[in-house]
Amino acid sequence: MGAEFVQFSLTPILIGMFAAIACALPGNFLILRRQALIGDAISHVVLPGIVVAFLLTGTVAAIPMMIGAAAAAIVAVILIEAVRRLGRIEPGAAMGVVFTTLFAAGVLLLEQSDTSAVHLDVEHALMGNLESLIWLRATGWESLLDPAALAALPPELGRMAVVCALIVALTAIFWRWLKIATFDEGFAQALGIPAAGLGFGLVVTAAIAAVAAFDAVGSIIVIAMFICPPAAARLMTNRLEVQVLWSVAFAALSAVLGYVLAGYGPLWFGAANAVSAAGMIATVSGVILGLACLYAPHRARIGAAREDA
């Protein structure tokens, strides 16, 4: 837990935690609204978004990429809605049509364009590069107070922290509206809450979380974090407030445990190389959900407990 930890592990763990929490918060509402898979769809269309942004700007700077990805996510949401309404197709199938098509277009564009000079490939988009977001200038815990060292923090950390704070703030501000509209949309409309706008806003917020997290940690974490921590939290309690807190705790736990297992786990088994941290974080979140499915207090459907016994 010395200088080496600060240098190599502190920032990736923090970034992973912020990313996990930013995705888990909107995930709570998406699951309750039966829109859990929208996170899956968004994380797929991020790829065409960044490829188009790259083709337009010619750089791999973070800001244009994030704008491109966010735009792609919004286009995808609108397209899904259009296909659903115009073709009168059930939402799941409409989603499947739209996100696979956009993803295919993204892969094709990527293959056709000359991106060999820059680091932009599908595997990077999937796995992220959490391990490489290290803080080389740090010499130990005291670097946290050293302005020169702090200036050399990976920029992803700042971005992810800001996005995470933004999402926490949005959740807090719209808490009452979100809660009412999630459980009883008709009642929300009767109260004058713009439920449709709120639903779209929720999806856009999820897209922002996905895009920011994707930039730092790849899209696997995004898919898993939208669903696994909130789903596990859902089995722990019947109160939304408590559920959100549980989901944040599970998300943070997955990030820390996943990173540590990925970074140090193989060493315990005598292997030399670390494994993918993003993949391990997703796996840990799945294991947590599995445990919740087996032992959580509120796991059963109402009335199903007797039938199972």
């Binding site: 699951i31 039966r34 859990a36 898979l37 996170g39 899956d40 115009l86 073709g87 009168r88 197709i89 059930e90 799941g92 199938a93 409409a94 989603m95 499947g96 049509v97 696979t100 098509t101 993803f103 295919a104 277009a105 892969v107 094709l108 293959e111 056709q112 595997e123 999937l126 796995m127 696997i220 974490i221 898919i223 898993a224 939208f226 669903i227 696994c228 789903a231 859902r234 089995l235 193989p266 292997a271 190389n273 494994v275 993918s276 993003a278 993949g279 391990m280 974080i281 997703a282 796996t283 979140s285 799945g286 959900l289 499915c293 509120h298 796991r299 059963a300 459907r301 109402i302 199903a304």
Partner: protein, 405 residues
């Protein structure tokens, strides 16, 4: 251009031809089995199945290397992927049945977790083989370049088997897709048929891994079925239209990608399918957007014509521009808004129709018939001539109507 033609006519070499045929067969199987999923409203479960194959591929590679074999044996890898996809499916079913989480959350959770685990195993393999490329990344997006002849054969044979299985199981699966309760009442075991459907989807996914990759195989299962839905309302036809569309996109896509450089097979197949979907969305005869617009325009024209003629009959001025344009174009009014001879005749007819309807609703006993008045349907379409004659008798002798003449 001739390269593309060559590839389409199977002239681009034995392997390319085998891959194109295999992709075509795979497309038929995927389209047909995907249409059951679509009808059962569980289309996205295929996404979880596809992502859940990855850890199996990794594990199979590790096991085969540990046993001293070549880790890249396609059959072994496919077997491994089928095992882990099956485990994923059972987990989804278990979560959705035993806990209160909805199925979509279960799908997403299994998808994310298995995929993450798969990526972890891939990095393990990378460090095991120490620099030597295992080539497993090809399973993410598919790669037919440099495919071995044996691999192409596996795909062609597997595709044929999957089509045959779909054919054998089409009746129980259609029944369950449409009315699970009725099927249960007939004595079918719903859970077993659902599992068989999933097994079929899994088989298609596993066979398709090498060609289109696990991220895009979902598209081959979903898009043809959704496209076919635009063209028919009959399930029997839906399955084979979907199969046909899937086959065409698989064959075309594989042939096109073998003919040009930098054209990855999977994405091209998906984009061909997506192109057919877009065409169908807009141009399909009944459910398409163009047909719906046309229906709307016709309806609008009928309403405006009727209301315009009624206004003429009552001698009221028409101010609605669309009505004026419509009546002018049909030669019913002159450009200054005055009714022509034909216009007055039509107006009289429409007014008579209104009067007959009013009388019909007043005197006729059958509300089912007189309730069909909607201000558009001519009375002749609802009542018999002698009934209409009776309405006319009650209405009394005709009165002179006329516009502003």
């Amino acid at each position: 251009m001739s390269a593309i033609l060559d590839a389409l006519l199977l002239g681009a070499g034995y392997n390319a031809a085998l891959v194109a045929l295999g992709a075509g067969l795979l497309g038929v199987a995927a389209g047909a089995s995907g249409s059951f999923l679509f009808l059962r409203k569980r289309a996205l479960i295929s996404d979880a199945v596809a992502h859940a194959t990855l850890p199996g591929v990794g594990l199979a590679f590790i096991v085969m290397v540990a046993l001293g074999g070549d880790g890249r044996n396609l059959l072994g890898l496919l077997l491994g992927s089928a095992l882990s996809a099956g485990a994923g499916l059972l987990l989804i079913e278990w979560i959705a049945r035993r806990t209160r989480l909805p199925e979509d959350a279960a799908i997403g959770a299994v998808l994310g977790t298995f995929f993450g685990l798969g990526i972890v195993l891939l990095t393990v393999i990378q460090s095991l083989s120490a620099g030597r490329q295992a080539g497993l990344e090809g399973f993410l997006l598919g790669s037919t370049a440099g495919m071995l002849r044996a691999d192409a054969l596996v795909i062609a044979v597997g595709g044929t088997l999957a089509v045959a299985l779909t054919w054998l199981m089409r009746r129980p699966m259609t029944l369950v897709a449409f009315d699970a309760d009725y099927a249960a009442a007939l004595g079918y075991d719903i859970r077993r048929i659902d599992l068989a459907m999933m097994a079929l989807v899994m088989a298609v996914t596993v066979i398709g891994l090498k060609v289109v990759g696990l991220i895009l195989i979902v598209a081959m299962l979903i898009i043809p079925a959704v496209t076919a839905r635009f063209w028919t309302d009959r399930s029997g036809r839906l399955i084979w239209i979907a199969g046909g569309l899937g086959g065409v996109s698989g064959y075309l896509g594989a042939a096109l990608s073998s003919a040009a450089p930098n054209m990855p097979t999977g994405p091209i197949i998906v984009l061909v399918a997506a192109g057919m979907f877009t065409l169908s969305l807009f141009l399909a005869p009944v459910r398409g957007v163009a047909a719906a617009l046309l229906r709307r325009r016709r309806f609008q024209a009928r309403v405006h014509r009727r209301q315009g003629l009624l206004a003429l009959a009552h001698g009221e001025p028409i101010r609605e521009p669309y009505t004026l344009r419509l009546l002018t174009r049909q030669g019913l009014i002159r450009p200054d808004g005055v009714a022509t001879e034909a216009g007055r005749a039509q107006a009289a007819r429409v007014l008579r129709d209104e009067h007959r309807w009013a009388k019909a609703r007043e005197v006729h006993q059958d509300a089912g018939l007189s309730g069909r008045y909607d201000g558009l349907t001519p009375i002749e379409e609802v009542f018999t001539p002698d009934e209409i004659a009776e309405f006319d008798r009650r209405l009394g002798p005709p009165v002179i109507v006329g516009g502003a003449a």
